[in-house]
């Protein structure tokens, strides 16, 4: 049951809190996750997106982080964040073409430790909102493991999952590419956006969630637990 997993999640958070080293991770774990029965409008969310050098968290790196808080159905850009991470590595040409972050820009970025610290501060008490949770969750956990020796739990809402659940309800087969952020946005009547910029993608994900919620019977009153992945 999702419900149990959630309680398990909060319990796990408490156990991890006790073991965590002093510092940003511990303070993140000290804040309880919101009650799963809370209507989504009252939940503090953080729409998040990573640009990475690849898909394998063990080998690849987080290149940039974009995030923006959401509350009461409003995306607040004033508190949004966009940072490039400097790993002192040479970027692969074909990747540069996708995320458009150059070596020079990387060199001007912040060290991973600093970025993760900022991110954990932002995430405390908030639910992470991403499109295709696997990337953000595994890369962030891997980074924490590397920095603090421990990979924490994160409550996550995944717009891809929400869409997939809806598609799965109908018996007909669907083209998996329909689940891409761009395609889903189009399906929900949202304007096209500039892809592969972490902040733009984070905002785009936030907007997509708003559109998805408007199609749900209870809209903004939908309970957090029904949305978690």
């Amino acid at each position: 049951m999702l419900f149990q997993r959630w309680f398990g999640l909060n319990a796990l958070r408490e156990r991890q809190y006790k073991k965590a080293p002093e510092g940003p991770l511990k303070s993140f774990l000290s804040t309880p996750f919101p009650d799963p029965k809370t209507p989504i409008k009252d939940v503090q969310l953080l729409a998040l997106d990573f640009e990475t050098t690849g898909l394998n968290p063990k080998k690849d790196h987080i290149l940039s982080v974009g995030c923006t808080p959401m509350h009461h159905g409003v995306i607040h850009l004033a508190n949004s964040l966009h940072t490039v991470v400097n790993h002192n590595i040479e970027l692969e040409r074909e990747n540069v073409q996708i995320h458009q972050i150059t070596d020079t820009e990387q060199a001007q970025g912040q060290p991973l430790e600093q970025v993760v610290e900022q991110l954990l501060t932002q995430l405390a008490g908030r639910v992470m909102l991403v499109h295709f949770a696997h990337i953000e969750r595994s890369f962030l956990q891997q980074a924490c493991l590397q920095l603090y020796g421990m990979s924490p739990v994160f409550p996550i809402i995944d717009t891809l999952q929400i869409a997939k659940r809806r598609f799965d309800l109908s018996d007909t087969a669907y083209d998996p590419s329909r689940l891409r952020l761009v395609n889903l946005r189009q399906e929900y009547g949202l304007p096209p956006h500039f892809e592969h910029n972490a902040l733009n993608d984070a905002i785009a994900t936030g907007e997509l969630l708003l559109a998805q919620l408007s199609r749900l019977e209870q809209g903004m009153g939908t309970k957090l637990k029904t949305l978690l992945c």
Partner: protein, 615 residues
């Protein structure tokens, strides 16, 4: 990394009035954006936003509705909704999402800071549509003043004063002596200090010498009695138009109702060699329809040059109408040369845009004949042949036949005065749909040739019948407000959605015609004789039908719309296309689009007033 919100600032930049802001400020603004989403059917402000805010629509459409559930306005992508900038804003108005809407919200506080730095932004939100529009129109008029000379100068700059007059009993010889001494080509004739006529060199030749009159005969024998006058405050351009359309070269000028002097066509031409003058004189000299048709090829060029000169649409309309008048007069003369003089008096009247002096090159012909009641059956063929000749001639000169067959060549519109009286009485007493259609055409009539009093009588009786006739006016109003200006006009659903003009804006039917209709209704309810829309509005302003303020707003809206039409047509003419009134919103500058919307708002408001007056 800067500019990560470039997408958002680009979008904001595309929205008037923010397009005037420097990029740095736009970037700052985009960092303050709050993005929200309103479900179909829900109202603004969005739940999550509690502070007074301004909204820009990123996607979707909103309807602004009043307490009576009437649609006031539609807002679409790129539109701004400023109704929630204050707390406790207008409670009579509701803003609803027609479909799911994605919005960018700005806190009013943040916006205020920008407004103090960039006052234009603040003005945009505080000034009502009508005011913004009139500011725009006067700006355009200023440009016109700079680029043209004649039209915005009063006759006062050109006429010769004082007026030289002679008594009607003066002998021909004495009159000729005075003219020679003064080196004048004309003199005004008075009787007991009242102007009774005018004599020109030509009169001496044609009516004096040629007829063998004695040099002792009084000038009253040779003078022209139907004297046109013009007020000293009219523009020089208006004088020119009056002369062109009447084929006269001298015009007495009055000041405070008193005879003040005389203006001649040479006085005006010396100032500016205007092509319209040349066209008119060419028309006057033409020998046959073929020559006239050739001259008519010049009209598109004339309209282009006027549009280029910055001539106001009002003057373009007057000039083109005067030329149409000149063609008509010449064609009637040619017909008479062929058929002989008319058996009984008649008046050739123009209707529609030519009558209102709002014609442009693409206008159809609308005309009719009012024949003196003394007409006998035997006289009918003369009028039939004359009318057919003139209408065919006009068609050859580029004035297409009226699709509704409202032409003098149609038996129905070639009738005696008595029949016309009956027509009007019927239309007014039984305002059925067809009658209302005829009303809108024939209530705008102007006599172009012949005995003017034939039309004047009809108009007078008609105005007596319509004035204060609330039932009839209610029917006319209901009919007039059927043509609605488009509310959110760059969305497909409010644009013309079929055929050749898909996704365009019909400037004529959605903008110009509604103002023409409104002005006609004001004129009819107030007994105003004018047929020109701007003049009707001017005269109706301050009456119970139209307040000063609303009148001015409609005036500006009409000027702006007709100017847009003239500019649009000039462009089409230059590209060798056929002219029309269909504008693609994409072809408009963002600013023109905003001004057009303001114009539509003004019209919409006035239509609503009409609707409530005659419910």
């Amino acid at each position: 990394m800067s500019g990560e919100l470039a997408e958002i600032s680009t979008f904001i930049k595309a929205s008037n009035p923010f397009d005037t802001l420097p990029d740095v400020v736009l970037e700052q603004m985009s960092k303050q954006v709050q993005i929200c989403y309103v479900r179909q059917g829900e109202s603004l402000p969005p739940q999550g936003i509690s502070t007074p805010s301004l909204y820009i629509i990123r996607k979707g459409t909103l309807s602004v509705i009043n307490n009576d559930q009437q649609l006031i306005e539609k807002l679409a992508e790129g539109d701004i909704c400023s109704l929630f900038c204050e707390t406790g804003a207008d409670t009579d108005i509701q803003v609803q999402a027609d479909e799911d809407v994605l919005l960018y919200a700005f806190e009013f506080e943040t916006l205020l800071e920008i407004c103090t730095r960039y006052p234009y932004i603040g003005e945009f939100f505080t000034k009502p549509a009508a005011e913004r529009l009139s500011a725009q129109v006067s700006k355009i008029n200023e440009q016109a003043v700079v680029s043209s000379t004649l039209m915005n100068r009063a006759i006062g700059d050109f006429f010769s004063s004082p007026a030289i007059t002679i008594e009607e009993t003066t002998s021909l010889q004495a009159a000729a002596q005075t003219m020679t001494e003064r080196n004048f080509s004309s003199l005004l004739v008075v009787k007991e200090q009242q102007l009774v006529g005018i004599v020109t060199d030509k009169d001496f030749r044609r009516r004096g010498m040629a007829q063998g009159l004695a040099i002792t005969a009084p000038v009253s024998k040779i003078m022209t009695t139907d004297v046109q006058m013009i007020d000293v405050n009219c523009s020089a351009y208006e004088a020119l138009i009056k002369m062109n359309s009447r084929g006269i070269h001298h015009l007495p000028v009055s000041q405070n109702g008193q005879l003040a002097g005389m203006v001649t066509i040479t006085d005006l031409m010396r100032q500016e060699s205007l092509s319209s003058v040349n066209v008119s004189s060419m028309i006057a000299k033409a020998q046959n329809v073929d020559e006239l048709a050739q001259i008519s090829d010049l009209l598109p060029k004339l309209q282009i040059s006027m549009a280029k000169l910055g001539t106001s649409a009002d003057n373009v309309g007057k000039t083109m109408s005067a030329i149409a008048d000149a063609f008509t007069c010449k064609l009637i003369d040619l017909a008479k040369a062929h058929l002989g003089n008319e058996p009984v008096p008649f008046a050739w009247v123009s209707a529609g845009s030519q009558a209102r002096q709002e014609q442009t090159v693409s206008s159809d012909q609308d005309n009719a004949l009012i024949i003196d009641d003394s007409m006998q059956e035997a006289h009918r063929p003369w009028f039939t042949q004359m009318a057919q000749f003139v209408c065919d001639g006009l068609a050859r000169c580029g004035y297409p036949y009226c699709p509704g067959d409202v032409m003098a060549s149609n038996d129905k519109w070639r009738q005696t005065q008595a029949v016309w009286h009956r027509y009007f009485a019927q239309w007014i007493d039984k305002p059925e749909p067809k009658a209302l259609m005829h009303c809108s055409i024939f209530f705008d009539m102007r006599s172009v040739y012949g005995k003017e009093s034939l039309l004047a009588d009809i108009r007078q009786q008609m105005l007596e019948k319509t004035r204060d006739n609330t039932l009839f006016l209610a029917h006319l109003s209901a009919n007039a407000i059927k043509l609605r200006p488009p509310l959110g006009f760059f969305r497909d659903f409010v644009l013309t959605d079929n055929g050749k003009h898909k996704n365009t804006l019909d400037l004529k039917h959605n903008g110009i015609a509604p103002v023409v209709d409104l002005a006609r209704i004001y004129a009819l309810s107030e007994g105003i004789e004018e047929v020109n829309t701007l003049k009707r509005l001017t005269h109706a302003m301050g009456t119970s039908s139209l307040t000063q303020g609303s009148g001015k707003s409609l005036f500006s809206a009409f000027e702006f719309l007709t100017m847009s039409k003239v500019k649009h047509q000039a462009k089409q003419l230059l590209e060798g296309e056929e002219t029309d009134c269909f504008i693609s919103p994409n072809a408009l500058s963002k600013l023109d689009r905003e001004h057009l919307k303001d114009a539509f708002k003004v019209i919409k408001d006035m239509q609503s007033v009409r609707q409530t007056t005659y419910g």
